[in-house]
């Protein structure tokens, strides 16, 4: 109660502050007059009385201030401090602007990267109770996570008790009929409960009902919001209409909400129920083409669910050894699948920005330190005039806070800009798989983070001058005797700061160097073929029009003939899967005539045309490639890669040997006729797998790709190739047209490496500049303080070279210390980011040596200028200074 009334009294006094002061003034004047009157009455001379009254009364301005402090709010003195701080900045705009600029940069970059980390790793997935969602898959010795087969899925779903639902999805391409001909569209086939397990509420219509995914049920489809907008004109009455996908009419039953995105199939435009198992893959237990998601029952842990799925997998392995031997279960948090691959890179980047921020703060702190040196006198005067140490400390905290707030506000602006820029730099096809990009931006988390960073910076900035200034030696400061202890204290603290800066710069430079090397090695990894002048297009052939080999083989020949006839085309090859894509579409092989115990020998399986190897310029190691005569050969013929030869035929000649499926089915026998040098089928950073290549004519498929070797710019050929394909049959779906160089540069691994290289490289350059400038500042300042000393030395006969030596020795010592500490820390730091390095070790001597050399040279160059200035000091002038 009392405090409240005091507050209101203060408030009312605040409104009539002038009156308060004039009243106080009058009251004190009255007091003085009365004292004077009494003194005169007791016989003192009037002049003496007046002086005595004044003397006794003391400093009335001070008294007024003291009364003011009682009735004023304590915040008011903060305003005074702020006012003073602003005046300090205005008086010295160069310092203030430099400090704010450095802080803005440091805070801006850090907050921006945190924005990504927050969106990816801290924000929950956009589903209901996302932390109960798990990704459920099979696993084998070659794949830590492999697809589920439909039969396995059905058994897992039936037998498990730890999941309240287990659903599957699979990517699938369709040819959508449109007024402009067929359009290839990516879609997702899902089980009935898939969308409801994620917790999606439809924007229009409904999601799938239980049982709607069973074979033979009506063909229905749900649109994503983007598809509804782009392909269906955002018609509100779209539900109930039908769309033709690959020749079948599908009834639209719903539209998904705008914010829905399922990252593992982020580009899917349609959701279709599983329906038919078809004659192919899904009727075989050994064919894996589905991925699972599940929702943990209440109280069931991830480990418990994993253990149960594993035991079910074991049971099935016993029951169906042919197909399920060695097939385990993989149960992971869904978030792990979606953001897991980004985690290491994002955390590396965050650490790098943290270092950059630190170097920025240290830099500004050392600027403040230099300034506090020149403010010693000011502080001493304020202290002598009665400012309490507390008040002086608060002045520095206020100034530090002001700088940090200015830097923080600027940093927030910079960070929004950086976040937009970085988001835009991610290519669209990849962005679909990174749903959290939509969440990147200023939100509560990023603002809180920015505030925390700002506060830390403020603390650091306030602490430095406070540490520096000892308030006891006020008298020292008033005199000019700030030569002895102060100088050495400055040297100790200031020099330590610059060592920290140099060490951090080394860490960032080494990190950037290693990432750069990783990126270079990734792009220049041996792919086993000539990646230049190679244009590629994916083709989807409607199976209604081309149901069998009889129709497909002539189409293949026609495509080859027409493309080869194009000017600038050297050679054309067909393949079931283009290289540098994935270790996938695998086959289980058995070597005829060798002992076999049911193990699954997983190899990449590709169907290629006879010209494929020549088109890629793959190197034939032994034997021969296919000819068009091989189509009708019995047994079939195949070409294998070197890894397969090494793994399954060690010390033997594989030519003439036969492979078969694990049941030795008679028509699965194929004879090895040639060995090619390894073609990179999987990702750039993945290991090479064994691979077999069969003639495409023997196993014709509706999905395939063409690779076209050109003599001219391959990028400009892409539209011509697509047009030619449509010219052959306008019902062909041609999509994913890409040059091989682009394909290599836009794979996820090379993009992640490219981003981290450029970002960390950018940070390192900033750190480098800040570090070298910091060193320059320290040396220049120290020289300016030692001008008299140098003058004395020279007057006593020191040579200019000795002066150079004096300055350069100090710089060399600091640089050596900074670089040395930095190198040790860098190796440690880079060991932590080993997982994002490719083909290079954390202690790569070339990088370490290079960084030491570059930073050392730059530091010496930066110190040379002050040394030159010191050496050109004229002794007489130097002695006359001050």
């Amino acid at each position: 109660m009392a405090t409240v009334s005091v507050f209101f009294k203060k408030l009312s006094l605040l409104l009539r502050r002038n009156r308060f002061h004039s009243e106080l003034e009058e009251e004190m004047a009255f007091h003085r007059a009365e004292m004077e009157r009494e003194l005169i009455a007791s016989g003192t001379a009037p002049q003496v009385a007046r002086a005595a009254a004044r003397k006794q009364f003391g400093n009335s301005a001070r008294l007024n201030e003291q009364s003011h402090e009682i009735i004023g709010f304590s915040v008011e003195s903060v305003f005074q401090d702020l006012h003073y701080a602003f005046r300090q900045m205005r008086k010295n705009p160069g310092f203030a602007l430099t400090a704010i600029f450095i802080l803005t940069l440091g805070i801006g970059v850090t907050v921006a990267i945190f924005g990504f980390v927050d969106a990816a790793l801290l924000e929950p997935l956009p589903f209901t109770n996302p932390n109960r969602l798990v990704s459920v898959d099979e696993k084998s010795s070659m794949f830590p996570r492999s697809n589920l087969s439909r039969a396995d899925y059905e058994d897992w779903k039936r037998m498990n008790h730890s999941l309240s639902s287990l659903e599957v999805y699979a990517g699938n391409g369709y040819l959508m009929a449109s007024p402009d001909g067929v359009v290839p569209v990516p879609a997702v086939r899902v089980s009935d409960g898939f969308l409801s397990t994620l917790g999606v509420q439809p924007f229009l219509g409904r999601v799938f009902l239980p049982g709607e995914d069973l074979p033979g049920k009506p063909k229905i489809v749900i649109l994503t919001y983007g598809t509804w907008l782009k392909r269906f004109g955002a018609r509100r009455d779209i539900v109930g209409h039908s769309v033709t996908l690959s020749g079948d009419a599908y009834t639209i039953v719903g539209v998904l909400p705008r914010e829905f995105a399922f990252a593992p199939r982020g580009n899917g435009e349609f959701f279709v129920p599983l329906l038919d198992k078809g004659p192919g893959c899904e009727s075989r237990r050994s064919c894996h083409n589905l991925d699972g998601i599940g929702r943990l029952k209440d109280g069931v842990t991830l480990e418990a669910a994993r253990a149960e799925m594993e035991s079910i997998a074991q049971q099935l392995a016993k029951q169906f050894p042919d197909s399920n031997l060695g097939q385990g279960a993989s149960v992971l948090p869904l978030s792990e699948i979606i953001v897991g691959p980004m985690r290491a890179i994002l955390l590396t980047l965050l650490a790098a920005t943290g270092l950059l921020l630190l170097i920025a703060c240290v830099n500004v702190a050392s600027l403040l330190l230099v300034r506090s040196e020149s403010r010693r006198r000011e502080i001493a005067v304020r202290g002598a005039l009665g400012a309490t140490p507390k008040r002086l400390v608060r002045q520095f905290v206020t100034e530090g806070l002001l700088l940090a707030i200015a830097g923080g506000a600027g940093g927030l602006l910079v960070s929004t800009w950086v976040m937009i820029l970085l988001t835009k730099m991610i290519p669209e096809n990849l962005a679909a798989g990174i749903p959290f990009l939509k969440l990147v931006g200023l939100n509560l988390h990023t603002c809180l983070f920015a505030a925390a960073v700002m506060l830390l910076a403020a603390l650091l900035l306030a602490a430095t001058p406070i540490l520096r200034l000892s308030f006891q030696d006020i008298r020292d400061g008033l005199g000019d005797g700030d030569r002895g202890s102060a100088g050495s204290l400055w040297r100790r603290l200031g020099a330590n700061l610059v060592v920290v800066e140099l060490a951090i710069a080394v860490i960032l430079l080494v990190g950037a160097g290693l990432l750069g090397q990783s990126f270079y090695r990734l792009l220049h990894v041996d792919n086993g073929f000539d990646t230049s002048h190679l244009a590629t297009v994916q083709i989807n052939v409607p199976d209604k029009l081309y149901p069998q080999n009889a129709q497909l083989l002539p189409l293949y020949r026609e495509i080859e003939r027409r493309l080869l006839a194009l000017p600038g085309v050297q050679s054309v090859g067909l393949t079931s899967n283009l290289p540098v894509d994935c270790n996938c579409n695998t086959d289980w092989i058995r070597i005829v005539g060798k002992p076999f115990h049911g193990e699954h020998n997983e190899v990449n399986q590709r169907d290629v045309s006879p010209n494929y190897f020549a088109t890629l310029k793959a190197r034939l190691v032994r034997g021969r490639v296919f000819t068009s005569d091989d189509v009708d050969q019995r047994p079939h013929v195949i070409v294998i890669n070197q890894t397969l030869a090494r793994k399954y035929f060690p010390g033997e000649d594989p030519i003439g040997k036969k492979l078969a499926d694990d049941g030795l089915t008679p028509n699965s026998f194929r004879e090895i006729v040639g060995i090619v040098a390894d073609l990179r089928e999987g990702g750039l950073d993945q290991e090479l797998w064994p691979a077999e290549y069969a003639p495409i004519d023997q196993t014709a498929d509706n999905y395939f790709a063409v690779a076209v070797r050109t003599t001219q710019d391959e990028k400009s050929m892409l539209p011509t190739i697509v047009a030619t394909l449509h010219g052959i049959d306008r019902n062909l779906g041609a999509y994913g047209e890409l040059t091989m160089t682009d394909q290599i540069e836009t794979t996820q691994s090379s993009l992640l490496h490219r981003f981290s290289t450029w970002l960390v490289g950018g940070f390192a350059v900033m750190a480098f500049v800040l570090g070298v400038v910091g060193l320059y500042g320290v040396i220049a300042y120290s020289v300016s303080r030692r001008t008299r000393e140098i003058g004395v030395r020279m007057a006593l006969g020191a040579q200019r070279s000795a002066v150079y030596g004096l300055v350069m020795r100090q710089a060399g010592w600091l640089t050596a210390l900074g670089v040395g500490i930095g190198l040790v820390c860098a190796v440690g730091a880079c060991m932590l980011m080993r997982s994002v390095l490719f083909g290079v070790q954390a202690w790569d001597p070339l990088t370490l040596f290079g960084v030491a050399l570059v930073l050392g040279t730059a530091s010496m160059a930066a110190s040379f200028l002050p040394a030159y200035r010191a050496a050109s000091v004229s002794p007489t002038e130097a002695l006359r200074t001050e």
Binding site: V6, K9, L24, E27, F30, G58, L63, S67, I70, I71
Partner: protein
């Protein structure tokens, strides 16, 4: 000149309040009154008197109004409020307790 003893810390408020129990006084009058009543032993520094008066005003223990003095000059007179009287009682009893306690310690020291 012998140094006069300083006021015991924290007692100024109490002395001012006590002085005002007889009649409303202006600042100078308060200082004078304390000086006289203590036979010139206690001197109230003007530097602490006016801030103290502001503090008492703020707490609502005294009221202030401008009146004319006998010498026909305008001065601000301070009057004790009911809350101020209560506060005085509280402070006096605390002060007495402390004096008593100090006295006990001193006596004990003498006897030993």
């Amino acid at each position: 000149m012998a140094k006069k003893p300083d006021l015991l810390p924290g007692t100024l408020d109490m002395l001012i309040l006590k002085t005002l129990t007889r009649a409303p006084l202006h600042g100078y009058g308060i200082a004078l009154s304390i000086k006289r009543l203590s036979d010139d032993v206690l001197t109230v520094e003007e530097g602490s008197l006016y801030p103290a008066l502001q503090r008492l005003l703020l707490q609502g223990w005294v009221k202030a109004e401008w009146k004319m003095t006998e010498t026909n000059r305008r001065a601000r007179f301070y009057t004790l409020t009911a809350a101020g009287r209560k506060q005085l009682g509280l402070e006096v009893s605390q002060f007495e307790q402390m004096i008593e306690a100090i006295g006990r310690v001193l006596n004990d020291a003498q006897e030993a």
